[in-house]
């Protein structure tokens, strides 16, 4: 891609690589080693509240207790599974809603398209926390939706929507929908619509044309969108905390509580390590997908 000139390896280029590289090594990669280290320690009442890796006599003191606890206590297995399943379902819902929206935007007139796109991006710039907060006011027992339903005579008593899994789904889909729509739009916008037209001229129904042409061409966008929603949703903390009930424990919240409420840093670290293993595969898939997309664009 880039052409190699004789003086490509000059000092300033090395600096331009080294500075961000070092920063990320120290503040992104190294901390993972520290989490790993602490996940093998015992909790103690001290500051910091865990045993050092090497004792006073220099002997290695590591324990697998935290992991043993994670894998034997059913609560954690259930919580991990529930987090992954909820994130996956929310991803599917985002795709279901996001695909027609992205499709509609991509096929609108250029002037309208710009405004529609701006309206998708705008909520993304407005505070995530405040967007979740907005739903608290809507879903409450005495919130806007229940007031409307009771006023319209649909129900006599408020529907319990707040503090349920339903509310978590609403929050997840609402917050992450733009992450699905934008990559989908990017692939659909580049797609040659003549192909669909040609297929239809040759007698394909619109369903057949969709599954044979639109869907395969949109695949990189579908993959990117799904992963961009799924990965952060798996470890989500704010949405289950504010909208979910006490029994709807998700792993992000368990980690947070283990760390701040129980002050069990080693266990919280072990919870984090297992969560990292869960999301590392989708992250690698995402990077492959992006690399392929850049190659194709070049």
């Amino acid at each position: 891609m880039s052409r190699q000139t004789g003086h490509s390896d000059t000092t300033w280029q090395r600096i331009a690589i080294a500075l961000p590289y070092l920063w990320l090594l120290i503040f992104f990669l190294a901390p993972f080693a520290i989490i790993l280290k602490i996940s093998f320690a015992d909790p103690v009442i001290a500051m910091p509240p865990f045993t050092p890796t090497f004792g006073d006599d220099g002997a290695l003191q590591i324990t697998l207790d935290n992991y043993a606890f994670l894998f034997t206590d059913k609560l954690y297995a259930v919580t991990y599974l529930k987090s992954v399943l909820m994130a996956a379902s929310a991803t599917a819902l985002c795709l279901l809603l996001g695909f027609p929206i992205a499709y509609g935007i991509a096929r609108a007139e250029p002037e309208t398209r710009n405004i529609l796109l701006l309206l998708i991006v705008l909520p993304f710039w407005i505070s995530f926390l405040l967007r979740v907060y907005a739903w608290m006011g809507l879903l409450n027992n005495y919130g806007v939706i229940n007031n409307l339903l009771m006023w319209a005579g649909v129900t006599d008593q408020p529907l319990a929507m707040m503090y349920t899994d339903f509310a978590i789904y609403i929050g997840l889909v609402y917050s992450y929908l733009p992450f699905m729509i934008l990559p989908l739009y990017a692939t659909l916008e580049r797609m040659d619509l003549d192909l669909v037209e040609a297929a239809q001229d040759l007698g394909a129904t619109s369903t057949v044309a969709f599954w044979n042409i639109t869907w395969p061409l949109a695949r990189p966008g579908v993959i990117a969108g799904c992963l961009l929603v799924f990965i952060p949703a798996t470890g989500e903390y704010v949405i289950p905390y504010l909208l979910g009930g006490p029994e709807s424990l998700l792993i992000g919240r368990v980690l947070f509580d283990e760390f701040f409420t129980n002050r069990d840093w080693p266990l919280a670290s072990a919870v984090a390590i297992v969560l990292i293993f869960l999301v590392v595969i989708p992250i690698v898939l995402l990077q492959r997908n992006q690399a392929r997309a850049t190659e194709n664009a070049a």
Binding site: S8, L118, S127, R131, A134, G137, L227, I231, G252
Partner: protein, 266 residues
């Protein structure tokens, strides 16, 4: 074959209503005179007045703005370097690891990023005595780390879309790579850098989870303060604060969009 089917148009209408009605309801209720956030008690601006008397909110806002400006500036500096390196320097040693470290922070669940950085700061403090307290400095470092990824991606995609012939022509005319970089490449990616700075600024202002981990006692950012109030339920003064934030952000985004369009047309 332009135009959309009725199905697509109804989904679009539903989608936009879904995105905007909740925000609209916050705005409407911010003018509610009642102390109870869900009962309409007549129109009033009193909650806006209360906001400006609340020194806690003003302090948190100031800390958030300070962090956001510093983090966005550092993220733009490092992110631009990384973006240029990835799209113009060809292959170099450790490039794959670099790409991985650039893109991962964008999707990494926030609880992991937050926990890992706090543990790093605690370990560093044990070893070196720094950082002696957590707050402005540690939050800025944390935000720089994840925001630089966004800047790098924006700069990289701008450079990928830009053809290299201008830079090549300048080099063929005898320009040294460094001069070509400063005189040709940088002006071309300046809009991307500005967009990156704005995005980094917003992301930093918006972050709750990572800041909660890496901040210390007393160092509350605006989202941290809002979260501690919101935990207890919907309150009218948060409605007013949310409305102000939404109006401010929307005005900024629409303005940036309008300027961008004018530049494209010119």
């Amino acid at each position: 074959m332009k135009g959309n089917s009725r199905f697509v148009i109804s989904v679009l209408a539903f989608g936009y209503a879904f995105l905007y009605l909740p925000l609209l309801s916050v705005i409407v209720y911010s003018f509610n005179d009642s102390q109870l956030a869900t009962v309409w008690g007549g129109f009033s601006m009193r909650w806006y007045g209360e906001l400006f008397k609340n020194s806690q909110i003003i302090d948190a806002l100031m800390l958030s703005l300070k962090v956001a400006v510093s983090a966005a500036t550092m993220a733009t500096l490092f992110g631009t370097m990384a973006g240029v390196a990835l799209s113009r320097f060809g292959r170099f040693r450790g490039r794959n690891l670099f790409t991985g470290m650039i893109t991962s922070p964008m999707v990494m669940p926030e609880v992991i990023t937050g926990l890992s950085l706090l543990l790093l700061f605690v370990s560093l403090q044990q070893l070196t005595g720094w950082p002696s307290q957590r707050g402005y400095g540690t939050i800025t470092i944390a935000h720089t780390t994840f925001a630089m990824a966004y800047v790098a991606v924006i700069v990289q995609s701008r450079l990928a879309a830009m053809d290299e012939s201008l830079e090549e022509a300048a080099m063929d005319l005898g320009g040294r790579p460094f001069r070509v970089m400063i005189d040709i490449t940088l002006p071309l990616i300046a809009p991307a850098m500005l967009a990156g700075w704005l995005l980094a600024f917003t992301l930093s202002l918006d972050d709750l989870v990572i800041a909660s981990f890496v901040s210390g006692p007393g160092g509350s950012t605006l989202p941290m303060l809002i979260f501690s109030k919101v935990k207890l339920g919907v309150t009218p003064d948060i409605n007013a604060l949310a409305t102000l934030i939404m109006l401010f952000v929307s005005a900024g985004v629409v303005l940036a969009w309008a300027i961008g369009r004018r530049m494209q047309k010119a």
